[in-house]
């Protein structure tokens, strides 16, 4: 099953709406609550990143019996230095984003912590494509 959610740029009034819709779906599918929490923290962090840093994008979820794959694909402008962006505490967030309680430089590291497999394709001037995989079978 595939679900797709659009995420606009710079509109914090809808921050978390896509994640909230996904969470409702995962609950209906009776997925383990702790797994749902890990998924939601990672997806919400990614959604906030798209709103705060990109020109907008989408979240694509592929739900299978043993695994959930979530892709977060934006339309740019890309991350110039991914190693720096993965460093806890490093942030390029605006003052507005910080006033909303985000932008502490924990987003990407927290995404990595919560998913079972993470790949990030990005380049300055191009789009960013994050792929997160979550195993649904215990012990994997």
């Amino acid at each position: 099953m595939r679900q797709e959610y659009l995420v606009p740029a710079q509109d914090f009034s809808v921050a978390g709406v896509a994640s909230s819709n996904l969470k409702r779906l995962l609950k209906q599918l009776n997925i383990n609550p702790f797994t749902i929490k890990r998924i939601m923290v990672a997806v919400f962090e990614a959604e906030v990143n798209v709103i705060a840093h990109s020109f907008g994008g989408r979240i694509v979820c592929d739900l299978e019996e043993e695994e959930i794959t979530i892709q977060v694909i934006d339309t740019g402008p890309g991350i110039p230095n991914l190693d720096l962006a993965m460093t806890e505490g490093w942030s390029t967030a605006s003052e507005q984003v910080r006033e909303l309680g985000y932008g502490a430089g924990m987003g990407l590291p927290n995404i990595k912590k919560n998913c079972d497999h993470l790949t990030i394709q990005t380049k300055a001037g191009e789009h960013t494509h994050i792929t997160m995989r979550f195993c649904l079978k215990e012990g994997e």
Binding site: F12, S13, A15, G16, S19, S20, K23, P33, F34, K37, R38, M40, V41, F44, E45, L100, G101, Y102, G103, A104, G105, M106, G107, N110, K113, N114
Partner: protein, 114 residues
């Protein structure tokens, strides 16, 4: 510590979520940074924060936090109350500071996350 005892300890006012008054809250986490809140995966937490906006409610939703206590007399907006009601989250506020609120609750036995 039950939510009703937490509110009594800090002269808190419950705005919505009366059904949570008997909730057993295991730990407290105090922060105005939602990025920090999202690093916590423990259950049954009280979020103590001075961040009175929709993002506090949304962050609590993602972290499965059912109880939020706003400090520094930051009364929630109607939008926040509507969101909290919809998501079944208890929302309360106190006039005390983040430091005083946390200190009083810690002294009463509410455990920290770390």
């Amino acid at each position: 510590m039950k939510l009703k005892d937490i509110l009594a300890c800090v002269d808190g006012v419950l705005v919505c979520g009366e059904s949570h008054l008997e909730d057993e809250v295991k730990r407290g986490f105090a922060s105005d940074l939602m990025s920090d809140v999202l690093t916590i995966l423990e259950d049954d937490i009280l979020l103590i924060t001075g961040l009175s906006n929709n993002q506090a409610i949304r962050t609590a939703e993602m972290s499965d936090i059912s109880n939020i206590l706003l400090v520094r007399n930051k009364k929630p907006s109607q939008t926040m109350i509507d969101m909290a009601n919809e998501l079944n989250i208890a929302l309360a506020y106190t006039s005390y500071s983040l430091f005083k609120t946390s200190g009083l609750l810690f002294a009463q036995g509410l455990k920290p996350v770390y």
